[in-house]
C-alpha cells in the first residue's frame, strides 16, 4: 500500500474565479502581502503496490484532471 497525492490546478492562462475570490477577500480580512492565489484540487489515494506510475498518470490525466483546462502533478508520500 502506498499513499499517492495528486494535485490538479487550473492552467495558468485559464480563469480561476475561486482563487480570485480568495485573493480578493484576504485584504478585507486584514491579511496583506498575498499577491496571487490559485485554487485547485487535492486528492489523496490509497493504492495497492500493483498500481504503477504509468497507471497513476493515466488516472490523473484521464479522470482526475480535465487536461483541456487543468495541469496535474503526482507524488507518492510516506505514510
Amino acid at each position: 500500500m502506498a499513499r499517492v497525492v495528486v494535485d490538479v490546478m487550473p492552467k495558468p492562462e485559464i480563469l480561476d474565479p475561486q482563487g480570485q475570490a480568495v485573493a480578493g477577500a484576504l485584504p478585507r480580512l486584514g491579511f496583506d502581502g498575498v499577491t496571487e492565489v490559485r485554487q485547485g484540487k487535492h486528492f489523496e489515494l490509497e493504492v495497492d503496490d500493483s498500481v504503477d506510475d504509468d497507471t497513476l498518470a493515466k488516472i490523473a490525466e484521464g479522470f482526475l484532471a480535465n487536461p483541456v483546462i487543468e495541469d496535474w502533478t503526482i507524488r507518492r508520500v510516506d505514510q
Binding site: P17, Q18, A21, V22, A25, R28, L29, Q39
Partner: protein, 227 residues
C-alpha cells in the same frame, strides 16, 4: 409599531427579494441591509437570506461571514436579537460561529431543488412558536451543499438540548446528520435552516404557505419582548 426586519444582501445573494416579501406578507416592514454597511438601521430582527454569496467560492458562506454587516449581526445576536439564516444564510451563520457545525456537499453531489416535508421538533425558538410541536410543514429545499455535519459531541449536545428545530421527513435529501434541516442557538433566538420558508408563503408561487409561520413567530417574539 410595526416590527422592522432587516434582510441582508451580499454580492451574489439571490433570495433577498423573496425574504423581504415574506417579511411584508407577515405584516412587518422589510429593511434592506447592505453587506458593506455595518449599520443595522435599527432593525428588530435580521434575516440572512439564501443565494450564492461571493459565488460560494472557497466554501459556502466563508467569505460573506467577514462582511462588516456580519460583525454587527454577531454583536446584536449576542444581545438576543432574533436572527434567521436560510440556506446560504444558514451556512454564513455557521461560518460566523453563531451556530455550531457546518454544511457540506450533498451526499449525491447534485444540487437538489424539491418540495420538502419538515417536522417541527422545537416550537419554542424565536422563529418557530407558531407551529405545533411535531407539525409537518412543506417548504422548498434547494441547495447543493446542505448536508449538516458536526462532531458527534456537538450533535449529542444539539439533540440533548432540543436545539434541532426542523428535521427532514422521509428520505434524507442530502445526507444531513440526524436528518437535521435546521438548528437553533442555545437561547433559541438564532435559527438556521437549509429549506426556504420564504418560498412557501403563498400557494400561487410555492408548494404551501407553511413558511409564513416562521415570520409570524418572530413577530410574536418581538412583541413579547416589547410588552
Amino acid at each position: 409599531m410595526t416590527a422592522r426586519i432587516g434582510v441582508i444582501t451580499f454580492p451574489g445573494t439571490l433570495d433577498d427579494v423573496d425574504a423581504a416579501r415574506a417579511v411584508r406578507y407577515s405584516g412587518a416592514e422589510a429593511v434592506s441591509l447592505w453587506h458593506g454597511d455595518a449599520d443595522l438601521h435599527g432593525v428588530d430582527a435580521v434575516v440572512v437570506p439564501g443565494g450564492f454569496s461571493y459565488g460560494d467560492y472557497l466554501r459556502c458562506g466563508a467569505i460573506a461571514r467577514f462582511a462588516p454587516v456580519m460583525t454587527s449581526v454577531i454583536d446584536a445576536a449576542g444581545k438576543g436579537m432574533p436572527v434567521l439564516g436560510i440556506c446560504n444564510g444558514f451556512q454564513i451563520l455557521c461560518e460566523a460561529g453563531l451556530l455550531p457545525g457546518a454544511l457540506v456537499r450533498n451526499d449525491k453531489l447534485h444540487f437538489v431543488c424539491r418540495d420538502q416535508w419538515l417536522r417541527v421538533e422545537n416550537n419554542t425558538t424565536a422563529w418557530s412558536t407558531r407551529y405545533d410541536s411535531g407539525a409537518e410543514v412543506l417548504v422548498p429545499l434547494k441547495s447543493g451543499e446542505g448536508s449538516y455535519m458536526a462532531e458527534q459531541s456537538t450533535l449529542d449536545r444539539l439533540e440533548g438540548d432540543g436545539r434541532v428545530v426542523f428535521r427532514y421527513v422521509g428520505e434524507n435529501p442530502n445526507g444531513s446528520r440526524g436528518d437535521i434541516a435546521g438548528i437553533a442557538s442555545e437561547n433559541g433566538r438564532v435559527v438556521g435552516l437549509m429549506p426556504h420558508p420564504e418560498h412557501a408563503i403563498d400557494a400561487l408561487t410555492g408548494p404551501s404557505d407553511d413558511g409564513l409561520g416562521m415570520f409570524y413567530s418572530a413577530l410574536d417574539a418581538l412583541s413579547t419582548v416589547a410588552a
